[in-house]
Every structure is written in structure tokens, then in C-alpha cells.
């Protein structure tokens, strides 16, 4: 989306500041603004920058200006708090400036590495494509490119290439098998969904991956695609329709599928998991989906696990504080990403929980890194991992 496409929204903001805090409880909503405090880091400041660039009052040949634009996790909390007519387009405005930067050739070095890696190896981490299926190497799971199955499990880039997170897709596969689900994976043939490329301003790359994904999955004749990646899920559900990509198969996030399988009695719990946990709503599984935000299924899953006590953080569901990893921030500005994550860990700890559970590998990775960096005493799990403990 170009700046001209969002012009109508650029003029919507009076900089009233409502986006800064969560309505009603008035605690911080915007990670970038909260960390840096300068007005230019808040959503309203970024809109002012977009307006000034659009009117030629500011130019993009200034690293500090680009820094403001890239220092946004795309969490959409601002869109949740703002009530003015442009409120559902704030991140679109930021993305439009990012796209403008790419178009004008003002490229962020961290994102150039990501994009080069995408082009070469179909992932944003600079890892060899040949390693994509390694997480399932010793697992008895169908190869979807060779066999027929009912469900395709899409691991996504983060879970495929981060060995410390391999327990997440492995747990998902194990649970599905235990529930009698006929599932397969694409392994080395799996590709990126393209969502990250979209968020950092490379819309051409995004379209390429979206078309490729659709083409690949359509040939498999699966009834549904299940993923543990919230970013991927949001991309399938939210971004693909924006470029008129219509999927003829059902897409479910693993939390929805687990909830469904538990309610159908297909998952039987045989062990207690004596843990007091709090649940972190990933932005891509919540606000990015608007009214279709997946808020209750993960809570239903956690409440159904014997021994698990679920407590809520002050900012939850559509008002959840971001983990800090989104929209390319964990690659381009790790300090900001980890600070944001640690703010969330402190909030989790304040509930008395000993573990934070989430449903997004980007969140989990960033939280684990923040624990290492800041030393907050709390365990971090994906919902599939904690579910598997009870099976």
C-alpha cells in the first residue's frame, strides 16, 4: 500500500493521545512510545511523520526518521484504543511509509538480510532451506508432498528453524496423532507465508509467497491447514484476502483445533499439570483478526487441563501488551523487542503465575530471550507444550 492510498487516514489524527493508554484501566498500550517517550515514537507521531513525508515536509534520507517508522511492533493496540475514523488504518499508514522507504531505496540493513534470505532460502532467518523439515526428522509423520492426508500442519519459519522451539511443532503433531487426526507436513517443501515481508514494506515478496502457498496447498486436497504460528495464521486469514487470494480449505490455529478436539472428546488428559499459568494473547491471534480474534479457545484449553490454574494479566485479550517481536522489530531492534517482552513478563509475574503460556512462536522466542536478558523468574511455554504434558 502506498502513501497515496492512505492519504484519507493520514489526516484523521488530532494527536489527542488516546492511543497511548489502554482505555478504562489507563496503563500503557504502545510499546514504542512507552520505551522511547518522544512523541514521534507513538502512533500519533508516526502518523504526523507520514503526513509530513506525504506533503514533502520531511524526507526519508534520515536514519532517525526511518528508525521511528520501523520502531513499531505492529501490535495494533493503538487501533484498539482509538475511536476516530482512521483507527483501523494506523498500522496501514506505518506500513505505507515503510513501503515508500523501500520504493525510494532507503532500505533497512536488517530487513535486507531477511529479504535476501527469503529470496534464497524461503525463510527470514538466513537458514538453509534444506533444514526446514529437521524439526520432524525422527518423527513418524506423513510427508504431505508424497502422501494423502486430511490435515496439513504448517510449522512456519520460526518453528522450523529454531531448535529450541522444536518441541512446539513436535507437541502439536503428537497431540494430533493421539487424537487420531490424519495429519501430514510439507517438511523441506514448506515455504514462508510472506507475512513478515508485508509488514516490513516488501509487498511484492508477500504477493509471491501468498500465491505460491495457495498453489501448493490446493494441489494437496487437504480439508484443513493447521498452524502453530500466529503470524502465519493471521497472514492466511487477514492478509491473503486483501490481495484477493481465496483459500478453498479451512485454516485453523492449533489452539482452535485443540479446543475442538478436546470438546469432541478426542483428546484425553491422563496427567495433572500442577501449574499456575497466565496466558499471553499474541497480537496476530487477537487484534489482527478484528472481531474474529481468538481469545477464548486458548483459555478453554488451559482450563480443561487437569491441575492448571489460569490467572489473567491486567492487560488481556484485545488489550494485551505486545511481546515485542512483531513487524520485524526482533531482527532490526532487539533491545526494544526484549524490553517490550520483559514488561510483559513483569506483568505476568505480578499475577502470581509461575508460567506464561502463549500460542505464537515469535512471542515464545522473544519471551525466552527476555528471560535470558533480564532474568525474570518465570517459565515460558507454547500451549501445545503444556497440553502435551497432560497426555
Amino acid at each position: 500500500m502506498a502513501l497515496d492510498d492512505v492519504k484519507e487516514w493520514i489526516y484523521g489524527c488530532t494527536r489527542c493521545g488516546t492511543c497511548k493508554d489502554v482505555l478504562d484501566i489507563f496503563v500503557p498500550a504502545c510499546p514504542a512510545g512507552e520505551m522511547y517517550q518522544l512523541e514521534s515514537y507513538y502512533p500519533s507521531g508516526k502518523i504526523a511523520i507520514a503526513k509530513a513525508i506525504s506533503e514533502g515536509e520531511l524526507t526519508m534520507d534520515d536514519e532517525d526518521i526511518l528508525d521511528r517508522i520501523y520502531t513499531c511492533t505492529g501490535c495494533l493496540s493503538c487501533e484498539q484504543q482509538c475511536g476516530v475514523y482512521h483507527h483501523q488504518h494506523i498500522f496501514e499508514i506505518i506500513q505505507a511509509v515503510r513501503t515508500e522507504a523501500v520504493t525510494q531505496g532507503f532500505l533497512n540493513p536488517a530487513y535486507m538480510v531477511m529479504i535476501d534470505s527469503l529470496k534464497k532460502d524461503d525463510n527470514v532467518f538466513g537458514k538453509p532451506k534444506a533444514e526446514r523439515g529437521d524439526w520432524a526428522r525422527d518423527m513418524d509423520v506423513k510427508d504431505a508432498s508424497q502422501e494423502k492426508q486430511d490435515v496439513l500442519y504448517h510449522a512456519g519459519c520460526m518453528l522450523s528453524f529454531d531448535p529450541e522451539l522444536w518441541e512446539v511443532p513436535r507437541s502439536a503433531i503428537s497431540i494430533m496423532k493421539a487424537a487420531g487426526v490424519d495429519a501430514g507436513i510439507m517438511g523441506i517443501e514448506e515455504t514462508c507465508c510472506g507475512g513478515r515481508a508485508y509488514e516490513i514494506g516488501y509487498s511484492g515478496e508477500f504477493t509471491k509467497y501468498a500465491e505460491h502457498f495457495l498453489e501448493t496447498v490446493s494441489t494437496l486436497n487437504v480439508s484443513k491447514v493447521v498452524t502453530s504460528c500466529s503470524d502465519g495464521y493471521s497472514t492466511f486469514k487477514n492478509l491473503y484476502p486483501k490481495i484477493n487470494i481465496e483459500m478453498k480449505f479451512e485454516v485453523l490455529h492449533i489452539v482452535e483445533y485443540l479446543d475442538q478436539l478436546i470438546k469432541e472428546g478426542k483428546i484425553k488428559f491422563i496427567r495433572e499439570v500442577p501449574k499456575k499459568v497466565t496466558y499471553h494473547d499474541p497480537c496476530h491471534l487477537g487484534r489482527h483478526l478484528g472481531d474474529d480474534g481468538v481469545y477464548e479457545p486458548p483459555r478453554e484449553v488451559l482450563k480443561s487441563i487437569p491441575g492448571v490454574e489460569l490467572v489473567e494479566m491486567e492487560r488481556n485479550r484485545e488489550n494485551a501488551w505486545c511481546c515485542g517481536a512483531g513487524a520485524g522489530v526482533s531482527q532490526a531492534n532487539p533491545d526494544f523487542a526484549l524490553w517490550t517482552a520483559n514488561e510483559r513478563l513483569k506483568e505476568a509475574k505480578a499475577t502470581g503465575a509461575t508460567a506464561l503460556v502463549t500460542s505464537c512462536p515469535w512471542c515464545e522466542r522473544n519471551f525466552k530471550d527476555a528471560v535470558k536478558e533480564y532474568g525474570e523468574d518465570i517459565e515460558v511455554y507454547d500451549i501445545a507444550e503444556i497440553t502435551r504434558m497432560a497426555i
Binding site: 492519504k7 493520514i10 489526516y11 484523521g12 489524527c13 488530532t14 494527536r15 489527542c16 493521545g17 488516546t18 497511548k20 493508554d21 482505555l23 478504562d24 484501566i25 489507563f26 496503563v27 522511547y36 517517550q37 518522544l38 512523541e39 514521534s40 507521531g45 504526523a48 511523520i49 509530513a52 515536509e57 520531511l58 534520515d62 532517525d64 526518521i65 521511528r68 482509538c82 475511536g83 476516530v84 475514523y85 483507527h87 483501523q88
Partner: protein, 481 residues
């Protein structure tokens, strides 16, 4: 500012607050150069975000040394262009000083830092002191408590207690020369009680738009949260009826709050809140035939349901008996509006990034002629009638304004709003109303009409406190150009 001086100043500022809280980036300077009004942008040279009183003192001393202006800033939502740096210099963004330092349950006050907003205050009281409340404006939650009180805002207890500066019970101020001074009982004792029999030095700072110092702490009154509340609405077919009713309601001394607004603005606000679509105030949206001209809302509270009902009955009876000749619908009982405050006024903030107004305080005796003339000026410019009033201090005076939301993307509308605003400004002053949160053009207009000795006294006070004229210069007390 000369580049060499600027570089030296920035280096010193970075030593004081740390480099992460000093910016000269054009993106920052641009943002602090303008606000939601039509005021001409003026860029600061540097933006600084201090965290402590000592840092502010050091910045002010440095500014004196370098003869650099200092403009205190909290949220920038004053709707008067008051934080736009007329002569460049240092924008002092105080949002990092955001602590509620004390709440005294018995004496019913709180001491806050400048970055504390209405939102913070409400959340804090709800959580820690649920039996107490503060008074909020019909404004976004990001509004600064200190800024609102300093700028004599009108809030939802203004019918009882007047402007928000009237419930200030103490100050701590960094003077323009860097000294730290306490004002009120805190100067001579440990408390911040609401009144002390001492010279009223708070008048050296309240209403001065940050031209006489930086307020670093303020004590403001709190009140018991009423257990029962309701709102009464009255729809009037003409201003004459509304005027008669407002005077009558005020003299009952029953309500906590009496506000009124053009029916047309209420319609646009409601639609914007429901649909989240852009609000259009221009070209004018006329009221439909048979629609009321003006709506009045009155907030009534009680310790018991019986007390509340008795108060409502008194008002209903007086309206029945005394307003027989007035064309009105009501009063109708509705849920209290107080729990929703502060809130984002979606319609008025949703017209295209612009919002301005001519807001003024003046005598009830001139209310009718003034509000009618203001609306007629809006008619002349083809702009929707958007009058808004609050009856102050049990009817001793009234707050009156015409809210002017506009589309900053439409140059013709921006130009028209500027002309409309100026004409309304001249008119209100002519009618004995004095603009509040006074934009610089309005200050100069008032100074031309004011008692010359009053103007000279203002200048002498400013010069005495701020010999180098560094604090938000060009506004109140500015030397003649």
C-alpha cells in the same frame, strides 16, 4: 538559534537528562511545532524529557545562561496553540514525571507530578481510593491534570466549584531563574490543605500558560464519590427557553454539573461514536424541522436513592411550575455520564485532524445574546452550529464555546475556520466574555482593550520572575514587540 550555541546547549542538555531524552531530529521538532488547532507551526530547536525536579532546575539555569526559551509540554491538547514555541528554544516534555505522589483520604487532596493525566488519576483512584473522585473535563484521557488546572479548564464539578484552578491547593514551582519554591500550606507545613491564610501567590502561576515557571508538583482537591447519580436531559426548541431554564436550574443549587450544547453537534457526535466514520461539520448540517436547538444535561447525585429521587422531584416540580411557557422536552432521566469520563470525543476529534474553538468565561447576564451571535457567525460561514456551555460556580458565571472541528487536509476549510474563529473571538470579547486557554492572537487582542496598567502589571510580574524572558515567551506578560 546560532548553530554553535545550539550544539553547546544540546551537549549540556544531554549531560543533564541523558542523550536518549534529548532530540533535535526533524521528526520530533515537527511534532512539537504544531497542535490540532489552526495555529501557525513554529519549530523548537530541541526537545528534552526530564525525569526529576533537579533536572528541570539544571535545564532552566542552562537556558538562562544561553538565553534559550523553555516551553513546558505535557500532552499538547490545550486547543490554543499554547505549547507551540513562538521563539524556538527548548520544548520541555514533562510526560516522564508521571507519579501520583500522595492521596490524603481525610483532607481529600492528591499531590501529582506534571505528567499525570486524567486517565492515570481515574485508574489510580478507582484502584486505591474508590470512595474518592476527581473532576474530569469532557476531554481525552491523555489530558494532563496539572495542565488542565493551570489553564483554568472547566470540568464536571465546575457547577459546584468553578474552574479547575480553583481547586488547586498547593504548588511546587521551578522559577524561571531556577529556584524551587513551594506555594500554599506546603510552604509552611507538611500538608497541602485546601486553603491557607497567606498571600495568594498561586496567582503568579495559575493561568499564566507556563510563562512564569515550571510547575513540578500540584495538590488538587478530591471529593467523595457519590453513591447514587443520574442525569437529567432537557431539549429546548430555542435559546430563550434554554436560558430561562439554565438560570432556574442554577438557583436550585441542586445539580453537580450543568452543561448544554447545540443539538446538531450532539447528533454528529453520536453518529461518529456509533459508526466510527468521519464527522462532517462543514458544510453546515442544519437541524431538521422540529428538532430542538439546544440540549441541557444536568448531573444529580445523592448519598441515598431517596435523596437522589427527592432532588430530581424538586427539579421536575420547578420545571413544571416555572417553565410552563418554555418549549421543551423533558426532563428525562438517563444514566449518569460521570463513569464514562474522561473519554475520547470521537466526533469532535474525527473531522480530519483539526480542532479549535473560541472558549470563554463570562457573565450569565450576557449568555443569551452571546451564544446566539456565536451561532449566527457559524451560520454565516456555513459551519454547523456547535455551541457548548457549562454553568460555573452555581451560576455566578458561564463557560461558553463553539467547538470547531475541521479537516486539515482541506485548505479552504482551514482558511474559513481561521476567519470564523477570529470573528467569534471579537464578538465574545465585545460581549464581556474573556477567552480562556488564550491563544496568542487572543492575548494581543485582549491587551489592546485592557486597562493599560493591568497590562503593565502583567509585564512587570513577568519581568520580575523571568528577567531573561525565557519561559514560553510571547504570551502573557510579553514585553511589547
Amino acid at each position: 538559534m546560532i548553530e554553535a550555541v545550539k550544539s553547546a546547549l544540546i551537549a549540556e542538555l544531554e549531560k543533564i537528562v541523558g542523550s536518549g531524552f534529548v532530540s533535535t531530529n526533524p521528526a520530533d521538532l515537527l511534532i512539537y511545532s504544531q497542535d490540532m488547532t489552526q495555529a501557525e507551526p513554529r519549530w523548537p530547536d530541541v526537545v528534552v524529557l526530564p525525569k526529576t525536579v533537579e533536572e528541570i532546575q539544571a535545564i532552566v539555569r542552562l537556558a538562562n545562561k544561553e538565553k534559550a526559551s523553555v516551553i513546558p509540554y505535557i500532552a499538547g491538547g490545550n486547543i490554543g496553540g499554547l505549547t507551540i514555541p513562538l521563539k524556538g528554544g527548548i520544548t520541555l516534555d514533562l510526560k516522564r514525571m508521571d507519579k501520583i505522589l500522595e492521596v490524603n483520604e481525610t483532607d481529600m487532596y492528591t499531590v501529582v507530578e506534571p505528567g499525570v493525566t486524567f486517565g492515570h488519576m481515574k485508574a489510580y483512584l478507582t484502584r486505591h481510593h474508590p470512595d474518592l473522585m476527581y473532576s474530569y473535563a469532557f476531554s481525552p484521557p491523555s489530558t494532563g491534570v496539572i495542565a488542565n488546572a493551570l489553564m483554568q479548564g472547566l470540568d464536571n464539578l465546575s457547577f459546584r466549584y468553578g474552574t479547575s484552578s480553583e481547586w488547586v491547593s498547593g504548588l511546587e514551582v521551578v522559577l524561571p531563574t531556577g529556584e524551587l519554591v513551594k506555594i500554599g500550606s506546603c510552604a509552611v507545613s507538611k500538608g497541602w490543605q485546601s486553603f491557607v491564610p497567606l498571600p495568594e501567590l498561586s496567582g503568579l502561576f495559575l493561568g499564566w500558560q507556563g510563562t512564569t515557571g515550571v510547575i513540578t508538583k500540584m495538590a488538587v482537591s478530591l471529593w467523595p464519590r457519590p453513591k447514587h447519580a443520574t442525569s437529567l436531559s432537557f431539549l429546548f426548541m430555542d435559546f430563550e427557553g434554554a436560558y430561562k431554564a439554565l438560570k432556574l436550574l442554577a438557583r436550585t443549587r441542586i445539580p453537580d454539573d450543568i452543561i448544554g450544547t447545540s443539538f446538531t453537534i450532539l447528533n454528529i457526535d453520536r453518529k461518529a461514536a456509533e459508526t466510527h466514520l468521519k464527522a462532517y461539520f462543514y458544510p453546515a448540517q442544519k437541524k431538521a424541522s422540529g428538532d430542538p436547538e439546544f440540549i441541557v444535561l444536568s448531573e444529580i447525585t445523592g448519598n441515598t436513592e431517596n435523596e437522589l429521587n427527592a432532588k430530581v422531584e424538586v427539579i421536575e416540580r420547578i420545571v413544571r411550575e416555572e417553565l410552563k411557557d418554555v418549549k421543551l422536552i423533558g426532563p428525562e432521566r438517563a444514566p449518569s455520564t460521570t463513569p464514562g469520563l474522561p473519554f475520547q470525543i470521537v466526533g469532535q476529534l474525527g473531522a480530519g485532524g483539526g480542532l479549535t474553538w473560541v472558549g470563554a468565561y463570562g457573565p450569565m447576564s450576557n449568555w443569551l445574546s452571546t451564544i446566539k451571535k456565536g451561532c449566527e457567525i457559524q451560520d454565516k460561514y456555513g459551519f454547523t452550529r456547535t455551541s457548548y456551555t457549562r454553568i460555573m460556580a452555581e451560576g455566578h458565571y458561564a463557560g461558553l464555546r463553539w467547538v470547531l472541528p475541521f479537516d486539515k487536509g482541506d485548505p479552504e476549510q482551514v482558511k474559513k475556520i481561521g476567519a470564523l474563529w477570529k470573528e467569534q473571538l471579537e464578538m465574545v470579547i465585545e460581549n464581556g466574555f474573556i477567552p480562556y486557554k488564550t491563544p496568542v492572537h487572543a492575548i494581543r487582542t485582549l491587551e489592546k482593550r485592557a486597562d493599560p496598567e493591568w497590562v503593565r502589571l502583567n509585564r512587570r510580574i513577568k519581568e520580575m520572575l523571568d528577567p531573561n524572558n525565557i519561559m514560553n515567551p510571547g504570551r502573557w506578560g510579553a514585553p511589547p514587540e
